[in-house]
Amino acid sequence: MRFGIVVNEGPYTHQASDTAYRFAVAALEKGHEIFRVFFYHDGVNNGTRYTVPPQDDRNLQKLWSELAEKHGLDLVVCIAAAQRRGILDANEAKRQGKDGDNIAPGFRISGLGQLIEAGIQADRLVTFGD
């Protein structure tokens, strides 16, 4: 089966990203396909490479990035939500006149249409939030 996953909260404050990650891993282990993981609201904060959690804690951004690399996942950060919260890729940083970008490996910034498309293309859309 083909899944779309929506992550609506950032890492650490809420468990949403952890649960979504574990759900994604379990789905992949069962042979399901993940069409896209869409990060919305504060969920865009999962996509900054500048997070530095303590060494004895999980690094959610790295977990997502590694999962994306291993399975070719499409991790999409909503552009409108990202702009509000200071998540930028190189193009956006240049366009907005900012002095650097912070998007993490495996994540890409795109529009809300990607969420709707995930709803259309996936057999099940599963939301994790607050």
Binding site: V6, Y40, H41, A80, A81, G111, L112, G113, L115, I116, E117, G119, I120, L125, T127, G129
Partner: protein, 137 residues
Amino acid sequence: MSDENRKKFLYINRKAPYGTIYALESLEVVLIGAAFEQDVSLAFIDDGVYQLMANQETAGVGMKNFSKTYRALGDYEVRKLYVEKESLAERGLTAENLMPIVYEDEDEDYAEKPSLIFVDRSEMAALIQTQDVILSF
């Protein structure tokens, strides 16, 4: 887009506006989603009914008043806004406390028709059972 490619999208709104960003960012998805020509319904349950309150004045909290956008949804072919009667009653609200929201029916000489559909809890539960995709805010 052919009907078989159309999915039923239900946006469930359960939070009041302004205290959190969910109402505003839900609306942003609805507006973008309209371009995909899906079969869209919005549900207002629990504190979500506060998103539709008439007379929202946000100058005092320094935030953008986005309540007018709900009234423009008809122009985006978003014409089914389901409001749960029990959620209103529990909060001491009635339909009269909400903004009038209408759309123009092109099949009937652009007559204005109400977009707000007041349903009870069991009807809302039945609506959920007919959907393909549910987005929760």
